[in-house]
């Protein structure tokens, strides 16, 4: 039976996941001076919209109260068609309860609910007006006026961009249809109070729209400011980390390339001496690893570490080709250290077992959604039977364990005569 398992998975003890943080930036929401946790400013627009929706829902419940009160206190005399009046109120109340439930549940007013609510409000205005005595159609006996005002206000907060006022006007129109008999019978008595009601529908929607718009805009400004502040902090932190890495790389350049060149320039060294050549090749590999493709990643900590690890193996006779592309710049320090240590260990194994004088180290952004990295250490040496699991001394302990500590994984792939590849992946 052929061996199917191609890769030996390193044992991975349970380790606390590494939290991806930007140094200097707050890791949770900001705290007030009293130590009380303040809400995250980035969600301010969302919370403001939810607050407005709650206020509109409460307003609706309040607007449903007056009519039964008025009826109980004797205004029923204004009602002509009791059946129509009660059923209109009942239907509008039942719908309003559904509507309030939807608004509170969704923490906003869905467009379909707003449309349906306006249709119910308009129909109720016509029906409730018709149910009253013509001259009492503008009194408290008309159950649909108060809820219609709340509908107009709700619509204005939902559709702020200019739809609020036309909605108010449309409701006022439905109201006028409802009280049209009263206007015909006694224009002098019905028109003044009717005009007041109609105007309040329009003006309520106008004011509500302006107020909601102002609140939401303020919340958006707050959220934008908070986001910009967080970004500025992250930029400064990234800049500082790049500066530190650059300073470290300059020191390393001084100790390697610069001192080699200076020694050669002074004369007295034989450039064809194998030791001199080995040192020159190692320095060149270090520079090449740092610069990689086009020098866009100067100050990248992982890239600098990998180049330095490759350089340190040169003294042991191994030339390391380091290639990096798209490596994230803000990897946590502990992750960079673990990957660098694991890489050094993998290169030590190449020296001990592979019987070759070259190895390749490549670093790439990993495919996942979160920013991560994939580092491969490959040689073209003897190889071993990784599927059998017996060889690979040092791989399991020193490499797998190092990666597992920071939440990464290591896999090894090898066959006799086909070289060895060790893949380090973070996050695992």
């Amino acid at each position: 039976m052929p061996v199917s398992a191609e890769q030996v998975r390193m044992p991975q003890p349970a380790a606390p996941p590494v939290v991806w943080t930007v140094p200097g930036a707050p890791t949770s929401g900001p705290e007030g001076q009293t130590g009380r946790r303040l809400p995250d400013p980035a969600t301010a627009p969302e919370r403001t919209r939810a607050l407005i929706a709650r206020m509109v829902a409460v307003l609706r419940i309040v607007q449903l109260v007056p009519w039964p009160l008025a009826v109980a206190l004797g205004s029923l005399t204004g009602v002509q068609n009791t059946g129509l009046a009660i059923s209109t109120y009942a239907v509008q109340t039942a719908w309003s309860l559904v509507w309030v439930a939807v608004v509170l549940w969704r923490r906003q007013i869905p467009a379909w609910a707003m449309g349906a609510d306006l249709a119910v409000a308009a129909a109720a205005l016509v029906a409730a007006g018709m149910a009253c005595n013509p001259i009492d159609a503008t009194s408290w006996a008309n159950s649909a006026v108060a809820p219609a005002v709340s509908s107009a206000a709700a619509a204005a907060t939902t559709w702020r961009r200019g739809y609020g006022v036309p909605t108010g006007i449309a409701l006022a129109g439905a109201y006028v249809v409802g009280i049209s008999r009263g206007i015909a019978v006694s224009a002098a008595r019905v028109i003044p109070s009717g005009a007041g009601d109609a105007a309040s529908m329009v003006i309520f929607s106008l004011v509500a729209g302006i107020a909601a718009g102002y609140l939401i805009r303020q919340a958006e400004v707050t959220a934008l400011a908070a986001t910009e502040l967080a970004e500025a902090r992250a930029r400064i932190a990234a800049e500082e980390s790049r500066d530190r890495e650059r300073a470290r790389q300059y020191r390393m350049l001084h100790d390697t390339v610069l001192s080699t060149l200076s020694a050669l320039a002074r004369g007295g060294l034989d450039p064809s001496d194998p030791l001199v050549r080995q040192r020159c090749a190692a320095d060149a590999d270090y520079l090449r690893g740092l610069i990689s493709s086009g020098g866009v990643s100067s100050g990248n900590q992982l890239q600098g570490e990998l180049a330095a690890v490759g350089r340190s193996q040169a003294a042991l006779g191994l030339r390391v080709h380091v290639h990096c592309a798209d490596v994230p710049v803000d990897l946590p320090e502990t992750v960079v250290r673990s990957i660098a240590d694991a890489t050094r260990e993998a290169l030590n194994n190449v020296i001990k077992h592979a019987r070759v004088d070259q190895a390749w180290v490549t670093a790439l952004a990993s495919d996942g959604a979160a920013p991560g990295v994939l580092v491969t250490i490959a040689d073209r040496g003897r190889g071993f039977n990784a599927a059998a699991g017996s060889a690979g001394l040092g791989l399991r302990d020193s490499i797998g364990a190092r990666l597992a500590e920071v939440g990464g994984t290591a896999t090894v792939d090898s066959r006799p005569g086909q070289g060895t590849s060790v893949e380090l992946r973070w996050p695992g």
């Binding site: 191609e6 090749a281 060149a284 590999d285 090449r288 610069i291 990689s292 493709s293 086009g294 030339r319 080709h321 290639h323 592309a325 798209d326 070259q358 190895a359 390749w360 180290v361 490549t362 790439l364 491969t376 490959a378 040689d379 073209r380 190889g383 792939d413 090898s414 066959r415 005569g417 086909q418 070289g419 590849s421």
Partner: protein, 215 residues
């Protein structure tokens, strides 16, 4: 015998290269020049030109490759650092391969032999540049081609690359050559009106599939 020329503006490097290649059987460095026009003025016929990627005369790497291809030679681009943008430009211009200058002598001679035989020299460093190409105009590679390219770019042997992709050794080599050919084809401009009509038709087919066959 493979005759080669080297175009590099670093005199010290040319001297070193001559000494380096002197003992190699079957490869003969017969001409050197600091720029491409200087080489063309020599009117020397060679099989392979080793072309430094970034010459200091300010010439464009891709234009240099095209000028040399006019002389019917295979161009092997070499450089100290794999500057991705220019490496891609030379491959698209029709260079047969790319290697960095840090390769040891056997690797360089292998690459020279490959391109002299009309093949491609896909070094691990070239595979790395191709596999990390994120430009929108890059050629489309199949999932299998991408896997082969990435594995080979990591420095793995071609045997290991073929095994991990579940294909034969020879097939893996063909994949690498096919990928390189796709880049050369990308760089080839649409030459005639007829070509253009063909491309438009291909694009339509790709868009609509065979849902609307002509009547």
């Amino acid at each position: 015998m493979i005759t080669i020329a080297a175009v590099d503006d670093d005199r010290m490097l040319l001297t070193g290269l001559r000494a380096w290649l002197a003992p190699v059987e079957g490869v003969d460095l017969i001409a050197t020049a600091a720029t491409v026009p200087e080489f063309l003025a020599l009117h020397t016929t060679v099989d392979v030109v080793l072309l430094d990627l970034n010459l200091r005369d300010g010439s464009s790497p891709a234009a240099n490759v095209r000028a040399l291809l006019g002389r019917d030679v295979a161009v092997l681009v070499v450089s100290t650092i794999p500057d991705a943008e220019h490496v891609l430009a030379t491959i698209e211009a029709g260079a047969a391969g790319y290697v960095t200058k840090d390769n040891d002598l056997p690797a360089l001679v292998d690459a020279i032999r490959d391109v002299a035989a009309g093949g491609a020299a896909v070094s691990p460093e070239l595979a790395f540049v191709l596999s990390t190409d994120r430009r929108p105009e890059r050629p489309r590679l199949s999932a299998q081609e991408t896997l082969v390219l990435r594995t080979y770019a990591s420095g793995a042997t071609l045997q290991a690359t073929a095994r991990r992709a579940g294909i034969a050794y020879g097939t893996a080599r063909e994949y690498l050559e096919r990928i390189k050919r796709k880049y050369t084809d990308t760089g080839r401009p649409t030459r005639t009106k007829l070509d253009l009509v063909d491309r438009v038709r291909e694009d339509r087919l790709e868009l609509h599939g065979l849902d609307n066959p002509p009547d």
